[in-house]
């Protein structure tokens, strides 16, 4: 097994007026290739901050983050954007699809920033949509899709550039239980096919679906269970 992302003694400090507060207080964790890890914890535990650090959406105050053998602890926003584009795929609670934009165009969005031409983009976006079971919905806008379908469009978007890591932030939070079930099953299937997934949730039930549960509290990893 090779590590996809390695966090070593990561500290993230926020300053509010006179008080400083460590949202992450020395986190050391490694996500291996093929992992399906759930990060759980109550609100305010630091799990969102941890997800932002893993997603290179934010940089640690101190400590080291290594993604695909590259130190990404101190990237500029421009460099980080390139890393997120090439190495990561995001799935959000509220789908975050562009309104009034077709499924194909939504899925192809990361490829625009990767500088890939339109023909290639459309081809790959259609393939990704077929992969998530949305053939025949290529030209539908988000408003013409159900919640579950919208989240699958978002997953297709996360998959489109074959990321080393898929980060999902409460992916079932806005879905009814049936659709949520489908999405979780889909994540499991992706994992079986070799995708590395990190899922952030506050729900123990959702976390149970993962192969590994990382519990976080007060900015520290409290428990790291492999199953």
């Amino acid at each position: 097994m090779s590590p996809v992302i390695q966090l070593t003694n990561v500290i993230k400090t926020y300053t509010m007026g006179d008080t400083t507060f460590n949202a992450l207080d020395g986190v050391t964790v490694t996500i291996q290739k093929g992992d399906f890890a759930a990060i759980v914890g109550p609100s305010g535990s630091g799990k969102s901050t941890l997800m932002h650090i893993i997603g290179i959406l934010d940089r640690p105050t101190s400590g080291k983050v290594v993604l695909d053998d590259h130190d990404v602890s101190t990237l500029t926003e421009k460099e980080a954007a390139i890393v997120r584009n090439k190495n990561l795929g995001f799935v959000f609670q509220s789908f975050n699809l562009l309104p009034r934009t077709s499924a194909v165009d939504n899925v192809a969005l990361p490829l625009i920033y990767a500088g890939i031409n339109k023909t290639e983009r459309t081809k790959r976006a259609q393939e990704a949509l077929v992969r998530v079971g949305l053939e025949g919905k290529f030209d539908n806008t988000p408003a013409q899709l159900s919640g579950g379908q919208q989240q699958r469009v978002a997953i297709a978007r996360a998959l489109i550039n074959n990321p080393s890591l898929i980060l999902a932030d409460e992916p079932t939070g806005n879905l009814d239980s049936k659709s949520g079930r489908e999405i979780l099953d889909f994540f499991k299937e992706l994992n079986r096919n070799g995708n590395t997934i990190v899922l952030v949730t506050h729900s123990p039930e959702v976390a149970r679906e993962a192969k590994r549960v990382i519990e976080i509290k007060d900015g520290k990893i409290e428990r790291d269970t492999h199953r």
Partner: protein, 400 residues
């Protein structure tokens, strides 16, 4: 990332909210079309006045009695027609000087009522020499012109404008008929060609010309009110003025005459109209700035409204510059399209106005309006675009 791709994104964003895009552009549309329209009207007026003066005879130099100055624009001192010391002999002398002077003739004006069979019209009757129509570019459409013999023997003959003919005679024959001018009978011998609507200073349609000698008899004077000199060409005007001044200085005292060319009158009128045009354009340009502020306002709202979209774009790989350029292009496209529509409207409006009023769309007003509207787009687009590009992806994603 390719600039054409960003361009496509911007266009898509604009098209996804057409009504708002239109309302945003409205300020620019109104501003640009106003600039073009107002400048077109100003320019048209300038051109019209220049043309009117030229139709009265280009290359003409006038010798007027008294001290006439154009230095203070139109408020210069007026000619002293009543105390005129100019004589017909002077005009004849000038005419014979030759050189830069092609022709010279005298002229006097008698405001009076002309009558024919109960119909009457009040107008200014001009006493002229035989070469007047050459100097002033007048053409006799039917009948004949006033001849040297008419002048020499002070015959009671008249050449009338087409408007006068219409008023006095209607459809009936006019040539050979006797009309009454200041209680004297004059025979109509020619009708001037209709050169369109009236001009400045001289309305050809209501023009009535009689031999200057006949006019002197009506006036009971031995002098004439003015002399018109035609230079051989535009380039000969200064030499003609020079020659006329030299001749006049031997005849009269310095304050008894003035030698003026039409060009200086035209240019002093034009400089005033130029200021008016610039002022009109300037006022319209203010609305362009207001339009620009409108664009900035909408773009700022748009950035706030699309915070989440910006966050998402950044999360999946948009660099700050990609976002900056996208929003900047949106603002610029809005102002350029608005500018384009404004130019079309301004141009169309000018064409409409042209039917009733002289209007001349000038290249510089279009260039200025277009330049200002694109500058407005860039200047007022920068602030919102920078704000968008600086949004933190986390904050932006969290935004509800």
């Amino acid at each position: 990332m390719d600039i054409t791709e960003i361009f496509r994104l911007s266009i898509k964003a604009i098209l996804s909210n057409k009504l708002r895009a239109f309302l945003t552009m409205l300020g620019i549309i109104i501003g640009v079309s106003c600039v073009i329209l107002l400048v077109a009207v100003g320019q048209g007026l300038q051109l019209y006045i220049t043309q009117q003066f030229e139709s009265l005879g280009a290359n003409t130099v006038a010798v007027l009695p008294g001290t006439v100055s154009l230095e203070n624009g139109l408020s210069g001192s007026q000619p002293n027609f009543v105390g005129s010391k100019l004589t017909l002999k002077m005009a004849d002398d000038l005419d014979r000087l030759g050189g830069p002077i092609e022709a010279a003739g005298g002229a006097s004006q008698i405001p009076s009522t002309i009558q024919y069979k109960g119909k009457s019209k009040y107008t200014t009757v001009a006493g002229i020499t035989a070469n007047y129509s050459d100097i002033r570019n007048l053409t006799v459409g039917s009948g004949r012109n006033i001849s040297t013999t008419d002048v020499d023997s002070a015959r009671n003959v008249a050449v009338i404008g087409d408007g006068i003919r219409e008023t006095l005679f209607g459809q009936s024959d006019s040539i050979g008929k006797d009309i009454t001018i200041a209680d004297n009978k004059f025979t109509v011998i020619g009708i001037l060609e209709n050169k369109g609507s009236g001009g400045l200073g001289l309305d050809i349609n209501s023009f009535v010309a009689i031999p200057i000698t006949a006019a002197q008899r009506l006036n009971g004077s031995t002098t004439i009110q003015a002399m018109n000199i035609k230079a051989r060409s535009k380039e000969d005007i200064p030499a003609a003025i020079d020659l006329a001044k030299r001749y006049m200085s031997k005849q009269l005292k310095k304050d008894e005459y003035s030698v003026l060319d039409q060009q200086s009158l035209v240019s002093s009128i034009n400089s005033i109209l130029g200021i008016v045009t610039a002022a009109l354009g300037g006022i319209a340009a203010i609305s362009l700035v207001v339009g620009g502020i409108g664009i900035m306002n909408i773009m700022l709202v748009s950035v706030t409204e699309r915070t989440k979209e910006i966050g998402l774009r950044k999360a999946i790989g948009a660099k700050p510059n990609d976002i900056l350029i996208q929003f900047l292009i949106e603002a610029v496209v809005l102002s350029l399209v608005g500018g384009g529509i404004g130019i079309a409207l301004g141009y169309g409006g000018s064409l409409l106005i042209q039917r009733a009023f002289p209007a001349q769309v000038t290249f510089w007003s279009v260039a200025l309006a277009f330049g200002v509207s694109s500058a407005v787009g860039i200047i007022f687009g920068v602030a919102p675009a920078i704000r968008a590009s600086r949004l933190e992806p986390i904050e932006a994603l969290r935004y509800e």
